[in-house]
């Protein structure tokens, strides 16, 4: 193995995507993903047991596909990495069981890694090493977080996160309120383009002074998010229209809701970067595909002199390549593998990049 370019296979199963990726150093060799998303559509959200059953079905076929695509055998692989948390317990368990079995059968070292940090680590696959002085904004159906990345392999700090729903979850719930399909993100984004983002002034969660405080004396939720009040406000608005016999202006509601979400996310991310002296920001997670989030974040980062990095959409949604990419960074940094005695951790904090050996 080349010390700086280890060949790593990564396994991801924290939500509804079964992902297996293969990475050599910072080069992407394979990114096989099987999604159970279609099976969740009729429920308007991810059903953990359905996702877990799908992971079991997809695990070996996805593993085989990734190795075939990469054109490598397990003999050549230097290490295996797997998501151990955060995520859905039953879903995580499938990937962890498979990764441990793979480690046992091949004798390859296993790293149990943090899903959130891997969303940042995937950045190395496009443009190589991440800039020093880096913040990360992760926005998905399960997460909304701002991180400070001192070092990808050992110094990650959670600056802020949602205190209730994730942003993507709010999109799904609002889509349901408006009678739109699941997942809500793409459909609301599309409709919003035809609506007026200023038509309805929906609340921006946790932006009042008592939550924000000042840079010198931060309030309790300076970099935190809340979307459950926003969802309720949309519900009230829709109910009110119906009660008055008015047709719901769906495009305006979509645009105004999206603006409320994106406004507060981008504002707080830029603020966190500025106040922590971070001159670069990486955007990750499935909602990174949202057009308004990308454009507003680009504009606000540009005004603040912050360099913005957004991996391509296939690397922003959950996948195994991001787990492999982080694993390769850990191997190259000389971090010790986890072994095979660990368990899953549904609430693993981002400060723990990989589990230490038992």
């Amino acid at each position: 193995m080349s010390a700086n370019e280890p060949l790593v296979l990564g396994i991801e199963s924290s939500c509804d995507e079964t992902g297996v990726g293969v990475v050599r150093g910072t080069e992407l060799l394979a990114n096989a993903v099987a999604s159970s998303m279609e099976e969740h559509v009729r429920f308007g959200g991810v059903i953990p047991e359905i996702a877990s059953r799908a992971h079991l079905e997809a695990l070996v076929p996805t593993l085989r596909q990734a190795l075939d695509t990469a054109g490598v055998t397990m003999d050549e692989v230097d290490a295996i990495a797997v998501t151990t948390g955060p995520g859905l317990a039953g879903a995580l368990m499938v990937g962890v069981a498979g990764a441990k079995a793979l480690s046992l059968a091949t004798g390859k070292p296993l790293y149990a890694v943090n899903h959130l940090v891997a969303h940042v680590g995937v950045g190395v696959l496009e443009g190589g090493e991440l800039p020093a002085s880096l913040g990360a904004l992760l926005v998905s159906g399960g997460h909304t977080e701002i991180l400070r990345i001192g070092s990808l392999t050992g110094d990650v700090e959670l600056l802020g996160s949602t205190i209730d729903d994730a942003a993507g979850e709010a999109y799904d719930k609002v889509a349901r309120l408006l009678g739109l399909s699941y997942p809500g993100g793409p459909v609301i984004d599309k409709l919003a383009a035809e609506g007026d983002p200023k038509a309805i002034r929906f609340p921006r969660g946790l932006t009042l002074g008592k939550f924000m405080g000042t840079a010198e004396e931060p309030g309790p939720h300076r970099y935190d998010f809340s979307f459950s009040g926003l969802k309720t406000a949309v519900a009230r608005y829709v109910e009110d229209c119906r009660a008055r016999g008015i047709e719901v202006p769906v495009a305006d509601v979509a645009a105004s809701f999206q603006e409320a979400v994106v406004d507060v996310i981008t504002k707080k991310a830029v603020l966190a970067c500025q106040e922590h002296g971070l001159t670069n920001l990486l955007l990750g997670g499935g909602v990174a595909a949202n057009s308004r989030l990308r454009s507003l974040l680009s504009a606000r980062c540009a005004s603040a002199g912050i360099g913005l990095r957004i991996p391509r959409p296939g690397l922003c949604t959950d996948n195994g390549a991001m787990i492999a990419a982080l694993g390769a960074q850990l191997v190259a940094a000389g971090v010790q593998p986890t072994g095979t005695e660990f368990g899953t951790d549904t609430g693993l904090p981002p400060s723990i990049v990989s589990l230490p050996a038992a």
Binding site: E49, L56, L59, K100, A101, A105, F342
Partner: protein, 232 residues
């Protein structure tokens, strides 16, 4: 070694594992002409640590036997609590893939019945805890051969007049007593043993079907009324 006279030509080294109740791992040497040899049979006690404990248990068993890998893998398909069950199935399938050996599945209750048949003394019901006041159960003859099942249901769903054997008897002790269902003595706390799963597989003629999780229950998801197409 091929063709050398006097060697057990068709000896198969079998790794058997089951996670339908506890973590259970066994290694057997199976020859056509002689009785199978159980080299090891490890049975855990915890029903909530499958993901943590299974692979270390397999590693320990292989090391103790001095095997680099088995020739085939057998895995219990359940029924059992879903999350633990999947740990066994996912592990068995990935091990088989990585070692390049076949993997077969068998109903976990068949293993339990194989073990408990001598204690049941006739036709009986093998049962495991299905939580929610229900049992996973199957009906077996005096030799432990399957007659019906597997099924999931409350005590009232069990076939009338047959004793119940297996760890399910402890899990539903009160309900069984109330319904007047007999419990085969000495079987009340027995979980599925991978060694007996293997013996049941041999007794059944080594069926070579790919493992399929026996959930027996739907995923419990209910579509919201707003998405259910107007159906109440």
């Amino acid at each position: 070694m091929a063709g050398r006279p006097g060697r057990k030509m068709s000896t198969v080294r079998l790794l058997s594992l089951d996670t339908s109740s506890v973590v259970s791992v066994a290694l057997l040497e199976v020859a056509d002409a002689s009785e199978p040899v159980i080299l090891s049979d490890a049975l855990g006690t915890d029903t909530h640590r499958h993901a943590e404990d299974l692979v270390p248990a397999v590693r320990a068993a292989l090391a103790a036997a001095g095997w680099e890998r088995p020739d085939a893998i057998l895995v219990g398909e359940g029924p059992g609590p879903f999350t633990g069950l999947r740990v066994g199935l996912a592990s068995a399938e990935v091990l088989a893939f990585a070692w390049g050996v076949p993997v077969y599945g068998l109903c976990s209750l068949d293993g339990l019945a194989q073990q408990l048949a001598p204690l049941a003394g006739g036709e009986f019901v093998a049962a495991l805890d299905a939580r929610r006041k229900e049992l996973y159960w199957g009906r077996y003859d005096a030799a432990g051969r399957p007659l019906g099942g597997p099924q999931v249901g409350a005590v009232a769903s069990l076939p009338q007049g047959l004793p119940v054997a297996g760890a399910g008897a402890t899990a539903r002790a009160a309900e069984l007593a109330e319904a007047g269902v007999a419990v085969a003595p000495g079987t009340e706390t027995t979980p599925v043993s991978a060694a007996h799963l293997a013996l049941a597989w041999l007794a059944a003629g080594r069926p070579e079907h790919a493992p399929v999780a026996r959930y027996l229950r739907e995923s419990d998801a209910v579509a919201p009324a707003s998405l259910a197409g107007g159906a109440k």
